[in-house]
């Protein structure tokens, strides 16, 4: 499966794009439980990457390994070619907003900025105070008094003003109301547009990611099930509708990801560059969230059915 994922992200020209993050056989065990196991993936630099997956897929563990808060139990991970948190130079290049945007509740906003200024040599104080002003945050307000959206924005400001090359956001909008969510994503989008910052954003809500991401990685049970530029992914997947008389009939040069039958009609989600349709079949464009759900269910089905089904799913892969 990972082979497919790596292939999907590779441009047609053949030259490898610069890599922001590379993991190989990466695993993390807590006492007896593996939170992440044998995870292999590559995140290209210069993109806004959405990392999606069901709860427990290992997204947070992967991101914590990427910022060096966790050390791997097995395998390797590198960010810009170096072990995460290897030293101050490496830490400088990576900005991180953890889940629930932790800040010091008893410290005022201004103190957070001063502290971050003291801790980060590349600190952009002007950018930070401009953002705080624009967001309407009172510098004297204690962080514990801020709303969830304001706290997330404060945490994002701390991460952005560090001027990182890679910005990692773990479920940044999970607890926010729709307006705060939109504003937060807008901030991330602006940053990514202004600079060549690579952004990795995890969420289990595809709609949030679709708004700002141009690259998607689907992680299910530590495995990359799907990875690639969102435009390319949408172009290579199709929703097909046709008669249900013979659901097993193959569509040439395509892989069926999901199938649904209702009455006399069958709906298929297939992966194919240019599907040749039998008479009676109609093609619809596919939506990103449908695509993600289809791959998630496929993975869940494969897991439920054991190794045999996994092999079957793999056999239909285009080469």
């Amino acid at each position: 499966m990972s082979e497919l994922a790596l292939g999907a992200g590779r441009p047609a020209a053949g030259a490898s794009p610069p890599v922001a993050l590379a993991a190989s056989g990466l695993g993390k065990r807590y006492r007896r439980r593996w939170a992440l196991s044998d995870c292999t993936l590559t995140i290209p630099a210069g993109r806004v990457v959405g990392l999606v997956g069901p709860n427990g897929a290992g997204k947070t563990t992967l991101l914590h390994l990427a910022v060096g808060l966790l050390a791997p139990t097995s395998g390797t991970i590198s960010v810009f070619g170096t072990r995460p948190a290897a030293g101050p130079q490496q830490l400088r290049r990576v900005g991180f907003v953890a889940q629930d945007a932790p800040v010091y509740r008893s410290l005022p906003v201004a103190a957070h900025l001063r502290m971050a200024a003291a801790l980060n040599p590349g600190w952009d104080g002007e950018l930070a105070s401009r953002r705080i002003t624009r967001l309407g945050l009172d510098p004297r307000a204690r962080a514990g008094r801020l709303s969830g959206g304001q706290r997330a924005q404060l945490a994002l400001t701390l991460a952005i003003a560090k001027r990182p090359d890679l910005l990692i956001l773990d479920e940044p909008v999970a607890g926010l109301d729709p307006l705060a969510r939109a504003e937060f994503l807008e901030s991330v989008h602006e940053l990514a547009a202004e600079r060549a910052t690579t952004v990795v954003l995890s969420s289990h809500l595809v709609a949030d990611l679709e708004r700002i991401c141009d690259y998607l990685i689907l992680l299910v049970a530590s495995r990359v099930r799907l990875a690639g530029q969102i435009g390319a992914l949408l172009a290579s997947h199709h929703q097909l509708s046709g008669p249900s008389a013979d659901p097993a009939r193959p569509i040439p040069h395509s892989e069926v990801i999901a199938a649904a039958h209702s009455g006399a009609r069958t709906t298929l989600l297939v992966r194919a560059d240019d599907p040749v349709l039998e008479p009676g079949w109609t093609r619809y464009p596919v939506r990103l969230d449908d695509l993600v759900v289809a791959y998630m269910s496929q993975a869940a089905g494969a897991r439920a059915a054991g190794g045999r089904a996994t092999g079957a799913a793999g056999s239909g892969m285009p080469r």
Binding site: H64, F96, R105, R114, N120, A155
Partner: protein, 348 residues
């Protein structure tokens, strides 16, 4: 980085500064009076020839304030360890802010070294200042009192060492337990245990005591122990030796070869010891005259074969012992601090 460390320790620094300021005001108001009293007593008693009595009277001056300030100096390190040391790492882990702190452009080893360095030095300064103020305030009373060793752990430089150990214990407990409240409790228990171990076991042995040999001089006897747990065998009580300002660590009956007196031997020399006392009521009751005579006779019999060996630390060793104890606690604090660094590096 140091500025960042300060920001997170402001509340504790302010609290410590407040307590020290209050104590300093109390000392400034009442201290000069004590100095005048002491000077007057010294000047007056020489002409009247009653210096011992005058000093004894002066030593009880402001007794409760002296006690409470002493208590404050004794508990201050424990409070520093619990409220300054224990939350340092534990609160970051508990509130999840370690994910903010450890992803700045500073390695977490350096983060802890600076955070603990700043807060640790501040706590040492707080304990040192508090001890300095109290030591100055109580110095006339301490000079008038019988022995400076009585207030050994409430004065001068040892409180700095205690604060260092308590702080390091707190940081380490917080890093290992990862929760503030349990870390505070563990810090308190471990600190009290360390203090008791040093006070009763290490301090008397740091410098081998001087030994004063003198004839058996029995003042009384007792069965020893606390009331609910009386020890089985009675022991003799001795007249206090005339060693002004010294710290008497033990008084033993030994024979010429330095062998101690076994309980069975004592019972043979002094039959009837521990029997036939008043045997009723609480507290002390006056023993009958016959018991006193029997005791003197028993002392005389013992004296033919045995003598008293009084182990003590002379007054001149007060400062060496202060330095040794400070060094022991500082060294232990450094070791624990190193462990905390190692632990934080491997937290995941």
């Amino acid at each position: 980085m140091i500025a960042a460390g300060w920001l997170r320790s402001r509340a504790q620094t302010a609290a410590a500064a407040f307590v020290i300021a209050v104590v300093a005001v109390i000392a400034a108001v009442t201290g000069p009076g004590l100095v005048r009293l002491y000077r007057a007593a010294v000047a007056g008693c020489a002409s009247r020839g009653n210096c011992q009595a005058a000093m004894a009277a002066l030593a009880t001056q402001d007794g409760s304030l002296r006690m409470w300030l002493g208590v404050l100096v004794v508990i201050a390190p424990a409070i520093i360890g619990m409220f300054w040391g224990a939350p340092l790492v534990a609160s970051e882990l508990e509130d999840g802010t370690f994910r903010l702190a450890w992803t700045q452009s500073v390695t977490r080893t350096r983060w802890l070294a600076v955070r603990a360095g700043v807060a640790g030095l501040a706590s040492l300064a707080a304990a040192g200042l508090l001890s300095l103020v109290v030591t100055w305030w109580a110095s006339p009373l301490d000079r008038a009192g019988p022995s400076r060793f009585a207030t050994f752990d409430q004065r001068d430089i040892v409180p700095i060492g205690y604060a260092a150990l308590a702080f390091a214990l707190g940081v380490l407990a917080g890093a290992v337990i990862r929760r503030t409240l349990p870390a505070m409790a563990v810090t308190l228990v471990a600190f009290v245990a360390a203090r008791m171990a040093v006070t009763y076991w290490v301090r008397p042995r740091v410098l081998s005591p001087l030994v004063l040999i003198r004839p058996v001089n029995v003042a009384g006897y007792g069965s020893g122990g606390f009331l609910p747990f009386p020890t089985a065998s009675p022991s003799l009580q001795f007249q206090p030796p005339d060693l002004p300002s010294a710290w008497v660590t033990s008084t033993d009956i030994v024979d010429k070869s330095g062998r101690g007196l076994p309980a069975a031997e004592l019972a043979r020399f002094c039959p009837g010891l521990g029997q036939g006392g008043s045997g009723h009521g609480f507290g002390h009751t006056r023993a009958p005259a016959s018991a006193g005579r029997a005791l003197q006779e028993c002392g005389a019999r013992l004296g033919a074969l045995y003598h008293e060996a009084v182990s003590y630390q002379p007054a001149s060793r007060y400062w060496p012992l202060q330095w040794y104890e400070l060094a022991i606690f500082l060294a232990a604090a450094l070791v624990l601090g190193g462990l905390a660094l190692w632990r934080v590096r491997h937290v995941s």
